[in-house]
Symmetry: C2
Subunit: 190 residues, 2 copies
Amino acid sequence: MKKSFGGMVLVYTMPVWVIGTYGKDGKPNAMTAAAGMVCCRKPPCIGIGLREATYTYHNLLEKEAFTVNIPSEVYTKEADYFGMVTGRKEDKFAATGLTPVRSDLVDAPFIEEFPVLLECKLIHSMELGSHTLFIGQIEDVKAEETILGENGLPEIEKLKPFVYDIGNTLYHGIGPCLGKAYSLGKGFRI
Amino acid sequence: MKKSFGGMVLVYTMPVWVIGTYGKDGKPNAMTAAAGMVCCRKPPCIGIGLREATYTYHNLLEKEAFTVNIPSEVYTKEADYFGMVTGRKEDKFAATGLTPVRSDLVDAPFIEEFPVLLECKLIHSMELGSHTLFIGQIEDVKAEETILGENGLPEIEKLKPFVYDIGNTLYHGIGPCLGKAYSLGKGFRI
């Protein structure tokens, strides 16, 4: 038996990403967003949903650039803080001790200590209501060598990203591997 | 030291969702997508990125409706199969034994056995390149009573959704709770 919740964003899983932008005055800011997705492979695009009230919204429109910084579990507290306060009032880098580094490719800062970052140029935006959807083209992905596996790609078990449970406002880590895609399902082929 | 991968969609975490649509002929179809996100709270909106080559792409444009079905870990094989083959050639419901049920709210089928479903009406689409981004307004969310917690909301540990590691094409389960959002980060406030 299913219970109806009405029209709401009760969706699983949501990622936890920290968006890096510069303000008009060049001040680096970081804001946590869970409304994010990959939306195209060629060109490689990523989408994030932001409220106009956020500092990041205006920075992003001004600079037409942002970074997506993927924290590992050890930065759960920092990521939570980045989503709690506005960069208009607090210097979030000073508060956390994390290091903003200027990207060579886009006009946005990334977080040195986080293991994966995407450098993105704004290519589209779409106002939807409470949130505006921003689409960025991924210019480069960079990952710490310590999280790479033997095949040279990031290993999710070393990266240890985490997800957001929007209903209960809880963070959860990543669990065990359940199997290989494009393989597990072969048994059903008629 | 960070390694550069160039512009590609190496992003963590991605959800695993099964999109339900009807074909022109009324045939129900299910397709797995990992390019998906919440993109607005009011109205509640969800985005999915689809290639034109898919059956679901055309069904969605025709019916202007879809469901997002969130599988639990026990349906990893079925979800993988739904992403491996096209509904033009195989009847995916017959092959898996899962049950398509007509939504009362939108012109799309949902999967009876999956614990959470979202019934969505197409409100926007944006062609980006290899993929088109479809934005659906969430008309209703329904969840199995067996996965609800004491507060009446889904518990992610009962739902057991899983995520997709796009680099290594692996599925991973959800791990332990890391703490409460809007709370863990309080220690950093200046």
